[in-house]
Subunit: 302 residues, 2 copies
Amino acid sequence: MVTGQGPASAKARDRVTAAVTRLGYVPDAAARALASRSGTRLAIAVIGHTAAVLDDPYVGRVLTTAAHIAAEREVGVSLHWLPLNEPVTLAALAGRRGLGGLLVVNPTRPALETVPRDLRGRVAAIGVGTRHVPSFDVDNRTGTDGVVRHLVSTGRRRIAMVTGPSWLPCGDRAVEAYTRVMRDIGGETRVVPGDFTAARGAAAAAEIMAHWPDTDAVFALSDLTALGVLDGLHALGVDVPGDVAVAGFDDIAFASLSRPALTTSTHPVEDIAAAAARAVLDRGGTDRVTCFPSTLVVRESA
Amino acid sequence: MVTGQGPASAKARDRVTAAVTRLGYVPDAAARALASRSGTRLAIAVIGHTAAVLDDPYVGRVLTTAAHIAAEREVGVSLHWLPLNEPVTLAALAGRRGLGGLLVVNPTRPALETVPRDLRGRVAAIGVGTRHVPSFDVDNRTGTDGVVRHLVSTGRRRIAMVTGPSWLPCGDRAVEAYTRVMRDIGGETRVVPGDFTAARGAAAAAEIMAHWPDTDAVFALSDLTALGVLDGLHALGVDVPGDVAVAGFDDIAFASLSRPALTTSTHPVEDIAAAAARAVLDRGGTDRVTCFPSTLVVRESA
DNA sequence: GTGAAAGCGCTAACAC
DNA sequence: GTGTTAGCGCTTTCAC
């Protein structure tokens, strides 16, 4: 009854509530979990090639937010790496008892299909979702559109794009948005594959300038890559933003500290993680997909 | 008995172990926590002026590591902000049941004194410790010594230092180490207060160059501040490392990406967090203080 | 609507 | 050493 859910008259509930606060009663999470088999942990699973994905600052931000939200409900958070090509692991993870809920970061759709039935309603995805897994994600399409149109509005026409890793489904919509803008302005699409690393950005910059020497802007789907592009361009003696404008995506902490400071699009990562964590923890009926806006941040590089 | 701890004959233990693995038995963390009153959560408390300290990437790294270690033991991690001047909150935190252990990040000694008795043996500090709270920390003294001596060995003599916030006890040893080196080389100490922010670094650079125009090196006890110093010096038209060398401390992710790339001292944050988390989770008798080495990383700025 | 009783899966304390 | 039993603090179910 202490949950406030059960059947009870209004005044009875009030009296109990009063007693609860007066006595400083705090429910015991472990006992509750044991009796209701509801679990005591919120597991956060990050999909990627290697366990190194866990060290990404982005994961840190998600984890920090989730751990904070979870703390208010007396539940803990645990962190797990899900090897990209072994979705089976997800089932193994879910098999463990004590699992109160599951947050999957950067999921692929096949991986999400392996989520066991009995976890439904207690899973959320930060990234793409499925019919059974609600999605909390950045609106990549509009975000990309905003950045590329900013490039166009500042006079750029020969714009190249460095994408993300091909297995990450969220990149598709960004590429589509970029392609659409280029078609609208009658420009050629210049897409180069990326992997979200700075090293790749530097290499991509060299490739782009070699293939299309007249390129006047580069948009990278990751700030780290954009920073790499900045370095690569610098090494080539190309002036930014004089000769070529550079824009990133994510607005990582260092974007404002680079020289030139990086123009990018900022994501409400904390809001997204908080919403996803709450959806799982509070089991509220959630929409199939919740989109969060990405907003342009104009600095020096474009 | 399933814990492997209790009294039992060797063969009996073996048979049980065999059965355990054959049947795929997995202990229920919630039930265990309830019966043994051992708690299901590892709380991580970060001390600071505002709740914004939780957003520091450093906290993210600690949390990530702890959550990973905790996951192996089926316990979750929760994150809490401890207002700098209200150590009482720590007691309140510990009062809640379900608390398996506590990790205090960047503690002050007074705050640590408020740790309740019954939590002893299940608390660890990342930073300074007390008689009852084991400390896991970076060897700031040797780390600082290494950086400053590197500055000296490259010909610098008029070296200024930007410290950290005064309430953080760990800064003292660093200032001592700096002072000692300066005394050894017969140089003047030039200490300016800092607060670990980049903005303060830029301001500190201006102050330093105004007070001591002949300064030929600046050491900041934080990479973010050092990055700010880089900016401040740049604005002043001072060449780095030509006119003035700049060195930081921490080796944050972007230290290698700045221009010029930042010379700094790297800390094994993950190792520290892992050791502290294990000490709390495994209740092993721990040393009063465990020091981790900070090692010089020479890049372009010094 | 309300109260009592039966577990949830473990650990710990006690008898054998 | 080994087996047994009584809870841990809740939720749930079932009588009232």
